[in-house]
Amino acid sequence: MQNTIKALILGAILIVSLVTSLQFGSTFIPLTDVLNSLSSHLGGQNLSIPHMTDTILWDIRLPRLLYSILTGIGLSAVGLLMQTVTRNALADPYVLGVSSGASTGAVFAIICGGLPLLGAYNTPFFASFGAMLSIILVLLCVGKSNSPVKLILIGMGMTGIFSALTMMIIYGAKHEAQVRSAMFWLLGSFAGIQWQDLPLSAIIVALFCLFIYIYKQDLDVLLLGNQEAANMGLSVKTLQLSIVITSSIVIATLVSKVGVVGFIGLIIPHLARITGGPKHKNTLIFSMLIGSIVMIWSDVLSRALYSPEEIPIGVLTSLLGAPLFIWIIMKRYKNIG
């Protein structure tokens, strides 16, 4: 099947998912109400739906749904580039330690209080600060080298340092509620996402995808290896640095809002390659589509499984993602010794 047809099919699934997923949550909302609410907000027609239903759909579920799509796209695209820059199929968006830095920052804000005058921005601010601090430290340690192995290993080291700091802060917590709140953040959640959270994240994720699209052929050449890519005239160090910095900004933005959502950035690029081949032009488009769909339904499940309670999204993506990842690896290496 041609890639265009596959993309159209996935696009159609995404649109259907967008509308139908809005029905699910602590209260089931019929599809007609969903459609009526959407058309009255988007088309300007005043169709009769209960006010409460409209509020749930428009003010709670829709921003959350759109943010889950942004997260799916952002994590998948960053995962794709991390696998390219390290030429390692096991790399994920968190390989450079950015999420660990963000976690330390967020847990510091939740348990130690951070800067209370920041109000609702307290946790996102400290998470972003932690993320940027960790990537600056990684870049300082990597220095002028462009070795992907060095990058991964220093990222792992940085992850270890920040994870230990996070655990230290949690261990020192005085109230159980703080620990529960920190753990919930660490495992990821879209709860509390509002319309105002969307614009900045959407711009950052869109610019990042545009960056990948513009540099798609350079990224293909980078897959030949650093030396070969340099032989072909590619500025390897510049491209690598741009990838690390832009990816970190995307991860810091997303993680500061929703916490650490695992496995999406690892498995979606693999699924995208299986679906559309290895060229970045295709893997980007399929990562965006598949990442969005998987994230929408993961969020629906996280809300619906123990309704009205919510399971952290990171638990669900890991639970679904890990077996899928094992299946992909088994399928891929079936004929290889």
Partner: protein, 248 residues
Amino acid sequence: MYTVNHLSFDYPTRSVLHDISVEFPTNKITAIIGPNGCGKSTLLKHLSKSIYSKGTITLNDEPLESIDSSRFAKFVSILSQMHDAMIDDFLVKDIVLMGRYPHKTRFGNYTRRDVAIAESYMEHIGISHLANEEVQHLSGGELQRAFIAKALTQEPTILLLDEPTNHLDLKYKLALMKELQTFKGTVIVVLHDIQLAATYCDNIVLMNKGRIVKTGSPQEVLTPELLEPVFEIPFTTKTEDGIYRIQY
């Protein structure tokens, strides 16, 4: 013309190249030969701008370090030994087409002409039937030929090849050397097979222990007197049907 002047290169624990000065003539095939660890590949890495060290290298009187990488790649194609590629899922035709990367405009796509050039070199090298195969399904020799096709697709005026006959069976070894003879430009090739160097190359650079032993035509360089102390085995030579033959 490539000119190397007083080039030296050391690893922290070992000296690899000692004050090397050598010229590589334009539009000729030059083979660099010598025993393992004599510095052949290190010299080639210097010529391909992968390493800089003490000494100067000029290309047509222009210092190599003043030629930026993207301009260099437009006229110099390098076949090196790759270590950290992640290209298993790529089709052979996509890899060969990447040879056009240095000629592509900054944000442009590969053109129909680029595709036609890649196809013609796949045909030349005899891998057209593998065009739609994934790289992971190729043998070592087939992969080597795909990379040779990619190097030629770059349409360079200078080819730098590090042991290009590795993994190739006899038929393709000879086909590659004949292809190099038809190449309109300068070829500098690191070779292990002395007979291939004698038969197909115009110029030989014999190296030993990081130094140049002798440069010149095959008949001038590949003599038992020069080869025996370098390779530490006995050699005999004779000319048969116009071909200079070396036996050991």
